[in-house]
Symmetry: C2
Subunit: 391 residues, 2 copies
């Protein structure tokens, strides 16, 4: 999805491509072959590029450091990106700069996990620090037993990230971009609707969000971008907390001193905590392709190349994006024809990926004034394309 | 510019590409080499495609007929496209279906041209029926002498197209799309501003256009699309006539019987005459990329593939597109950086073409509510990128 803005701005885009039938290789002119885990392939790519950037965070940090040592310009840098690659590193850093987080601990063994659970209460959320996405690498543990497998697989010195299970009102995301010269720009805060750990829908802007909360969330994202020296797009996923008294952020547990390895809330009273970070165009920002003056893909390119950033204003009162997940129908062309006929204003985006159940294989976007109508149309179209509904 | 919507809709796009450094070959994955005048190359392309379409009208008609005879699906068909390839064929057909045209004649020699000039008055507009674009192949003749060279080069049976020089108020364009199943959709009528025969600016919708004129122009374009069995995008360029009494459409000359080879106005009183046709995404429709729910490039693909057509509504009250013409600066990257900084809402589109003076090498688009402001911003940005102004 970076190809269209790269083409418009006459920027030469080379995409390291794992296979001849990978999405990028199907459409882009320059897709040198190679795996993102192959240092030699990465070095060959970097030698041909002024700037190297990412559409995922799975390139090994040590490879990025090696590229930088070899003189390549990596944006975001290896030092910044590690905060999106390692959830423990992220939590430590956000705590240090006072960004609101769930209470959390690095747990090396069952004893530490039990102590943390006693402190903040079960169930807990347990995460592998690296490699998770779309709910993978995340476990909700009702008791120590539920995490026994993961704990048993830890090597000496390795830790899991344990977090309190936050009772949140809904999930939000803030998308910002920052350039090496320090220019930054933020899109409106959005609501992300999740099912089974997978984002199914994004509403821009987040309905009913208080201006104070929107400003605080945006400020936090811009501060993270600046403090971590992020270049390119940064997505910050948030839990919006319940506003009523007696909610977890004000619970009696918070009153006493925290256990030695328990990191308490920072920035209490903000009304939100940070869940995850991503340093690249992100699913929560796909609405910007059709819904904002500048899409996250164009902005990411502008940011990593230190070009002036574009206008992030929305182009309509509401934009709704629904993900198309792999379903029963392998032939999307047949189903999306009906959707195009049914809704001429709908924008369909397919990724050229093979259909596997639950895999994000595309999205649809609608813009307009009537939010309920837009949500219904986006949901119906996404369900129809993936074969969930047939009328 | 068709690549982005083809990618979003997961449509495999193969572009016959004349050179490895041609615009399409720089960005698209599948750009088989070949000239559009090489029948073998065309046949190889067609063998790999479900549908063959165009981004210019210079493929020889006899080649298109040969492809069709060989079983290829050409959209628009050779029979339709010839009306955009041959201005005499176009005039004959539009006259036959009663679409308003300037008075015109096919002239085979000086005698016929002189007779036509005596009938409609000098100066005349003389055109080569085939191969012209951007003012090339068009001559304003004040007298017979001015056309002597062109007349002298005619082979036996060949003719030039002579037209009265219409005193028009301004130039308009109507863009429509039509699919094989007969679905059709029209964008709002736009104003096109020309300098030296080259379009420099497009304003959507045309400011101050009467609803009646807009409806009549749109109806004419849809009728042309239907009568000529056009598939894909059709651009109809119009002259809007002066509304005052005594204008050419009501001139005394029109009162008497026309000379034998003079085709009189059809549809008099419509307030416009048709200048040119194009059957492909057209410069007058570049505003739709950023300014309409469905761009002309997406719509063209949907139309030629017989997919349901998309919503043609504008996304803002006004959209202004200004062409970037080749100027003194070969390095556009340096100049457009300043423009991006100066106007974060501006959308820049460069075509990856080498810079030659006067060549269309890109365009810029702005959308908003204040037309005067938008025109100033678009003009400044286009001038700055091409090096006409330096502040």
């Amino acid at each position: 999805m970076m190809l269209a803005p790269a083409t418009a701005l006459s920027l030469g885009l080379r995409v390291l491509s794992e296979a001849p039938d990978a999405s990028a290789a199907l459409v882009a002119a320059q897709t040198p072959p190679g795996l993102h885990t192959d240092l030699t392939a990465l070095q060959r790519l970097a030698a041909d590029c002024d700037v190297v950037t990412f559409d995922h965070e799975h390139v090994p940090p040590e490879h990025l450091q090696a590229l930088e040592a070899g003189g390549a310009t990596i944006r975001p840098s290896a030092a910044a990106l590690v905060h999106a690659q390692d959830k423990l590193v992220m939590r430590e850093r956000l705590a240090a700069i006072g960004v609101p987080c769930p209470r959390w601990a690095a747990v090396h063994d069952a004893g530490e996990l039990a102590a943390f659970g006693d402190e903040v209460g079960w169930p807990l959320v347990v995460k592998t620090p690296r490699g998770g996405y779309d709910g993978k690498g995340v476990l909700v543990a009702d008791s120590l037993d539920d995490a026994a497998d993961w704990l048993g697989r830890l090597d000496a010195g390795e830790a899991l990230l344990a977090e309190e299970k936050v009772a949140f009102r809904r999930e939000l995301a803030v998308l910002v971009a920052r350039s090496p010269m320090g220019q930054a720009a933020a899109w409106p805060v959005v609501e992300t609707v999740q099912e089974d750990g997978i984002c199914t829908e994004v509403i821009a802007p987040a309905p009913g969000l208080s201006p104070a909360m929107a400003a605080a969330a945006t400020e936090a994202a811009l501060r993270i971008a600046g403090e971590l020296d992020v270049t390119g797009v940064l997505a910050v996923e948030l839990f919006e907390l319940h506003p009523s008294p007696g909610d977890h952020a004000r619970s009696p547990r918070d009153g006493g001193p925290a256990g030695a390895n328990v990191h308490d809330h920072e920035g209490e009273g903000a009304g939100f905590v940070v869940n995850e970070l991503a340093m690249r165009p992100h699913n929560s920002g796909h609405w910007t392709i059709d819904g904002s003056v500048t899409s996250q893909f164009e902005q990411h390119l502008r940011a990593v190349l230190d070009l002036p950033l574009g206008d992030t204003r929305p182009r309509a009162r509401w934009t709704v994006m629904a993900n198309v997940l792999g379903g029963d129908y392998p032939d999307l062309y047949t189903t999306y024809q009906h959707v195009l006929a049914h809704d001429p204003s709908l924008k369909v985006h397919l990724y050229g990926k093979s259909v596997r159940p639950g895999r994000k294989i595309g999205h649809v976007t609608v813009c307009g004034d009537d939010l309920a109508d837009l949500r219904e149309r986006a949901r119906h179209a996404a369900d129809y394309i993936q074969g969930v509904v047939t009328e």
